[in-house]
């Protein structure tokens, strides 16, 4: 156990764009590295990050993202998302940031709990076999709140 006042960080990941997925992963991993407990609840599009077939194919959003500094019309052209994603992934590799599958392994080995949202799993007609082996389980939001029901716990929606 660390000596931090914050004891536990719970993240709800609802999006599948690379920047959001990595934000959740880096913060969840960073918490463990500081001796803080951490868990991630994957819901809605966030579920893409724990689907075996999809997790290595996440993209940067080039449309509706003013930080891309390109006209929205251009961002919508075929290949733009793939190009922007490739560029971002190469920058991330330079910083020794692991790809999604390896990052999930690191998180699981570090003791970060990984949960899928029951309602979203049903909505997208997913089965357990579609999801990563390291998943700790499928929870309702009520189950997840129970896990948050401790002193010095923070919840963060991404």
């Amino acid at each position: 156990m660390g000596n931090t006042k914050v004891r536990k960080m719970l993240f709800i990941l609802s999006k599948a764009t690379i920047e959001n997925v990595y934000a959740a992963f880096i913060m969840a991993n960073g918490a463990r590295m500081e001796g803080i407990e951490s868990e991630i609840f994957f819901t809605f599009f966030g579920l893409e990050a724990i689907q075996k077939k999809k997790l290595e194919h996440l993209h940067v959003a080039t449309v509706g993202n003013p930080a891309m500094h390109i006209p929205t019309m251009l961002g919508g052209l075929p290949g733009m998302e793939a190009l922007a994603t490739k560029m971002m992934k190469s920058e991330m590799e330079k910083l020794d940031m692991p790809p999604v599958s390896e990052f999930l392994e690191i998180l699981s080995d570090s003791g970060c709990k990984l949960w899928a949202c029951k309602l979203a799993v049903e909505m997208f007609h997913l089965e357990e076999k579609d999801l990563i082996d390291d998943l700790d389980g499928i929870l309702t939001i009520g189950d997840f709140y129970n896990r948050a029901d401790q002193e010095n716990t923070h919840l963060l929606f991404i």
């Binding site: 991993n29 960073g30 001796g35 020794d96 080995d109």
Partner: protein, 102 residues
């Protein structure tokens, strides 16, 4: 700042990290570990050796590096150095706290 370990005066920063690695000895490392509630074993020292190698080669430490180290896996690393393994291990190893976010 200064702190006395085993009758030697050691230079440390406000977080307790040694500021001069040349002052580090294995015995001092074991004393720092004790303060953190860690009793050093051969496996602990293997990890410290790995960290020293990285430090001497000026390679950054990261949890991904630990995974690839071949010395220890991440689960064991967390078990050996509970409560922030890289922070604790570098403290015991007498080198600066890693600055990486991953």
């Amino acid at each position: 700042m200064e702190k006395t370990y085993l009758q030697s005066i050691i230079q440390i920063n406000e977080e307790g990290y040694l500021t001069d690695f040349t002052q580090w000895t294995k015995e001092i490392g074991a004393e720092i570990a004790k303060e953190q509630g860690i009793e050093m074993t051969d496996k602990h020292w293997e990890v410290i050796d790995y960290i020293h190698d990285k430090y001497k080669n000026e390679e950054a430490l990261s949890i991904r590096g630990i995974k690839k180290s071949g010395v220890i896996n991440i689960k064991e690393f967390y078990e050996l150095f509970p409560g922030g393994p890289l922070k604790k291990a570098t403290l015991i190893a007498g080198i600066p706290k890693p600055k990486s976010c991953i």
